[in-house]
């Protein structure tokens, strides 16, 4: 077989088994080996050795009939179930080597799983690279707050571009479950390194601390707090030994989910800061505490605070100092533990100002470690070190001097001079009878009060005991070896109730939670009351508005009716005049008579010209008046736009009144919000704002309508006036007509006389 460019090499084989070949390359190999016996043999070599033939294959082939049924660990069961539920979420894939698909990513394998999420190794076909996908477990994604937070923090983390922060490529959702796409790295978590190798070398500790601090600085510059700095979140990238921070902000999303689910803290709080442990607000300086804890773990091989349960750990974090580093690992220089102590200060303001300062300081220290003679320690550290690293005798002297000073200033301790040695007794309780024994013989017997006692006594070995039975008293350093001219301290203290501080802390936490809850609830309740009041006011306003409009419309309608009535009269009058005119002089006479009987036409006014032209003219004017009259009539009829408009407006107003009156229940539904956290409150505020806005809008519309209404009313009034004017005109015309008819009559009688 001729070797082609497709032939397998040991390198490609390695990549094939590690799953590092792109799908296209794998398909090339598949096609190639069907023809190439040589390469096929390379592949099957793995199953032709004795390990496979004798040790593995027969064992797997033979079904073991003596099966051991493990007591099922319910936790493990749950985990495998959730993993199965995640795998079910995956979309189908065409590639037989893949587990499935999430969005555009082909899933290669599961590389990790925890209580909160699953990490997949996936292949990004578009960019031809492997990526890691972190997906929130489906039951956690059911919490809306957690889901949103996961996506939001993920996007924030994606904005941080730094060599020491694991790059986030993408944030998306798959079937409602948010996921992050990050760089795929084969690095080892710092946690693993510490577990396998124990404490690290000083220069390595500094290097990792510098890089972590730089990563933190970059994130803090974006306003992002990690909140969960711990060795398992720091990845050491294999080849170049670069430290990268991972899982930014996810702690927060996970908090949301787990709190919603069980109301308790899950996971190990070993690397929490005191302010986190006490439930106080958290800022960038919390991450510095975490960094201090990580450095402590690198120095000693173990976390700074360890206890049986989470609450005990929280108590330690809040109240206790960790065991001094040098006690555990004497190779650590004191300046390094000084840095760590300051990072781990209980109060955030006692820590370094920011991560950049820590990075800078550690860089200076690293330079010193690498070239101790050429580069000196930074001033601040050099000072604190000289304070600590005095010569032993000087230190002892200092200790004694400070002890003596303490005795003098406390004023509560007697000092009786003796030439041999001094035994100083401090006591936390009154009336404690003690005896000082030497070789089973009582040397001295006394009762000690809170003020303590100092006994001068010959050098030698003594045992200080309680004289009688006082169970609750403990004597520290009760076996004393007193040297000539030396001072030895014996402390008597009361046995502490070890449960009490923990209980107090829990009670305090509970109270704090209670207050917080009440505070939030009150705020929300006030807001709700305010909103309800606002709604009631609006309802009243809209109601009065509507009744006002109704009144107006009633008036308008009434006036309109009156006008129509009047018009009717006018019309009948006009018709009668017309009819009379058409019927000739007789008709006119009849009409005149009729008018007269109705006292409508005084005889005196009939004294006008006899000109026929004038009559014509008058007739024309009557015609014009009739036209105007007809138009006005049409205008004032029911279908007149103004009336229609007014009616529409009333309808609209009635409708909006109904709406407002009907809505309270429906709108009240929106106020039933979960009073869980700041976010819910936030969205609730937005809802309230939106409601106020819509009510204001409604109010504005009503105002406009009111204005329109006023305008219409005015228009109607104008119409009324115009009708009055027209009426006057008609009256005038009527009078003219009467005059004209009069003239007709006169002319007729003149003609008759002339004949």
């Amino acid at each position: 077989m001729v070797e082609s460019k497709f032939c397998l090499t040991s390198e490609t084989l390695k990549q094939l088994s590690a799953g590092e070949l792109a799908p296209a390359s794998v398909r090339e190999i598949e096609t190639h080996i069907e023809d190439c016996a040589h390469c096929r043999q390379m592949l099957t070599a793995v199953e032709s050795d004795s390990q496979w033939q004798e040790e593995i294959c027969p064992v797997l082939r033979k079904r073991e009939d003596l099966t051991f049924h493990r007591a099922e660990d319910s936790e493990a069961e749950l985990e495998s179930q959730t993993l199965a539920s995640v795998l079910r979420l995956l979309g189908p894939t065409d590639d037989p080597h893949m587990l499935g698909r999430i969005g555009a990513y082909e899933i290669v394998s599961v590389i990790g799983r925890g209580g909160m999420g699953v990490v997949f190794k996936a292949f990004d076909g578009a960019l031809d690279r492997f990526v890691a996908i972190k997906m929130l477990l489906p039951h956690l994604a059911a919490s809306g707050a957690a889901r949103k937070r996961f996506a939001r923090e993920g996007r924030a983390a994606a904005a941080v571009i730094d060599d020491n922060v694991m790059p986030v490529y993408n944030v998306d959702q798959w079937q409602g479950n948010p996921y992050l796409v990050t760089q795929y790295s084969r690095g080892v978590p710092l946690q693993q390194r510490i577990k396998d190798q124990g404490p690290l070398e000083v220069n390595e500790i500094l290097r990792i601390a510098i890089q972590t601090a730089k990563g933190l600085d970059a994130a803090h510059a974006q306003g992002l707090v990690h909140r969960d700095i711990k060795p398992s979140n720091i990845l050491l990238d294999g080849s170049v030994e670069r430290a990268m921070l991972t899982d930014f902000g996810l702690a927060r999303a996970v908090d949301d989910a787990s709190i919603t689910r069980t109301g308790t803290i899950t996971g190990t709080p070993q690397y929490m800061s005191p302010e986190q442990a006490c439930g106080e607000s958290v800022d960038a300086r919390s991450d510095l505490f975490g960094l201090g804890c990580v450095m402590y773990a690198m120095c000693t091989g173990r976390p700074p605070f360890r206890a049986d349960n989470s609450y005990a750990i929280l108590r330690l974090i809040a109240d206790e100092e960790p065991r001094p580093i040098q006690e555990i690992n004497s190779d650590i220089p004191s300046w390094l533990s000084t840095i760590i102590s300051r990072l781990m200060s209980k109060r955030p303001e006692d820590r370094y100002a920011d991560a950049a300062e820590v990075a800078e300081l550690c860089e200076a220290c690293l330079a010193h470690v690498q070239l101790p003679t050429a580069v000196t320690l930074p001033d601040a550290l050099a000072r604190s070190v000289s304070d600590r690293d005095g010569s032993p005798s000087w230190r002892k002297w200092l200790a004694i001097a400070s002890l003596v000073l303490l005795l003098v200033f406390a004023g509560g301790l007697f000092a009786i001079e003796f030439n041999k040695g001094k035994l100083v007794i401090e006591c936390a309780s009154d009336n404690v009878p003690i005896r000082i024994m030497q070789g089973g013989v009582e040397v001295e017997k006394l009762t000690v009060s809170k003020e303590g006692a100092t006994i001068k006594i010959a050098a030698g070995k003594y045992l200080v005991e309680v004289d009688g039975d006082s169970d609750n008293v403990i004597i520290e350093g009760n076996s004393v070896s007193l040297g000539r001219g030396e001072v030895e301290l014996v402390k008597i203290r009361l046995e502490e109730d070890s449960v009490a501080p923990q209980k107090n802390l829990l009670v305090a936490n509970l109270r704090k939670f209670d207050e917080e809850y009440t505070r939030r609830y009150d705020k929300e309740f006030t807001e709700l009351c305010r909103l309800s009041q606002l709604k009631i006011d609006k309802n009243l306003m809209v109601g009065s508005n509507v009744s006002h409009s109704q009144l107006l419309l009633k008036n308008v309608t009434q006036k309109l009716g009156e006008t129509q009535e009047m018009l009717k009269t006018l019309v009948s009058d006009r018709e009668r005049i017309q009819a009379a005119t058409e019927n000739g002089s007789g008709g006119i006479q009849q009409l005149v008579w009729q008018f007269r009987t109705e006292n409508k036409m005084p005889r005196e006014i009939l004294s006008e010209s006899r000109n026929g032209r004038m009559i014509e003219n008058l007739q024309l004017r009557i015609g014009a008046a009739e036209d105007a009259y007809r138009i006005r009539k049409a205008q004032l009829a029911d279908e007149h736009p103004a009336v229609k408009k007014a009616k529409d407006q009333l309808d609209r107003l009635m409708k909006s009144l109904d709406e407002v009156l009907d809505s309270p229940e429906e709108k009240a539904g929106d106020f039933r919000l979960p009073l869980t956290d700041a976010e819910a409150l936030d969205s609730y505020k937005k809802l309230v704002d939106a409601k106020i806005k819509s009510l204001e809008e409604e109010f504005r519309v009503l105002l406009n309508q009111q204005n329109d209404h006023a305008k219409n009313t005015k228009e109607l009034q104008e119409l009324d006036q115009e009708i009055d004017i027209q009426e006057d005109k008609v009256q005038t015309l009527k009078e003219m007509l009467r005059q004209i008819t009069q003239r007709f009559a006169e002319l007729a009688s003149e003609e008759k006389d002339a004949k």
Binding site: S17, L60, E64, L66, R70, H97, L99
Partner: protein, 199 residues
């Protein structure tokens, strides 16, 4: 005497530190079935064998904290095998009075007492088998179920590749690649586990 070979000290430390749940769980997962089978092969009933397993591992968990490395003491594996052997032997001696098997007499059971070297060898063989099974179980989830099936049918049950090509519609080339990948991964896992829990 074929004792357990020497092992990685950090791993001993991890088992010793019972807080490290993962290591202890792994240790249990591999050695519990081993002890169980040895007990069953000595004619103990299922429930009794489970009791023996419990006794053995309770005593191991108590003893393990006491182990200290020292040049003049036996290496960890040897020590562990002694503990396991003693625990099994003790359980088997105490067992007969309430054992249900009517045929057994005290003499039979005494004869059945494991001889030290034999027990060691047996633990070794059984542990080796169990590591293989356990590793296969562990990596199963890393592959799609039909991929695993192709591997199992061709590589373990010896079904001809042509058959599988016909029934699954995969190419022969892809079946070779699958077999290679699963076997390579299985060997890797076995090596990793053996390094922890050497047989």
């Amino acid at each position: 005497m074929a004792e357990f070979p020497e092992t990685n000290h950090n791993l001993i430390a991890r088992v010793q530190d019972l807080d490290d749940g993962a290591s202890w769980a792994e240790f249990l997962e591999i050695y519990q079935p081993v002890v169980f089978r040895m007990a069953r092969k000595r004619d103990l009933q299922d429930a009794d064998a489970h009791d023996v397993v419990q006794q053995v591992f309770v005593s191991i968990s108590r003893a393990i904290g006491r182990w200290e490395e020292s040049p003049d003491k036996p290496p960890f594996r040897a020590w562990l095998s002694t503990i396991a052997r003693n625990a099994i032997t003790n359980s088997l001696i105490r067992r007969p009075r309430d054992a249900a098997s009517g045929a057994s007499s005290v003499m039979d059971l005494l004869n059945a007492h494991p001889v030290a070297a034999e027990t060691s060898a047996e633990i070794r063989v059984e542990a080796k088998k169990e590591i293989v099974r356990w590793a296969a179980e562990q990596i199963n989830g890393e592959f799609a179920s039909d991929t695993w099936e192709v591997f199992w049918r061709t590589a373990i049950e010896g079904e001809p590749i042509a058959n599988v090509v016909k029934t699954t519609g995969r190419t022969a080339g892809s079946i070779y690649v699958i077999r290679y990948r699963v076997i390579a991964r299985l060997k890797e896992k076995i090596a990793e586990v053996s390094q922890h829990w050497d047989y």
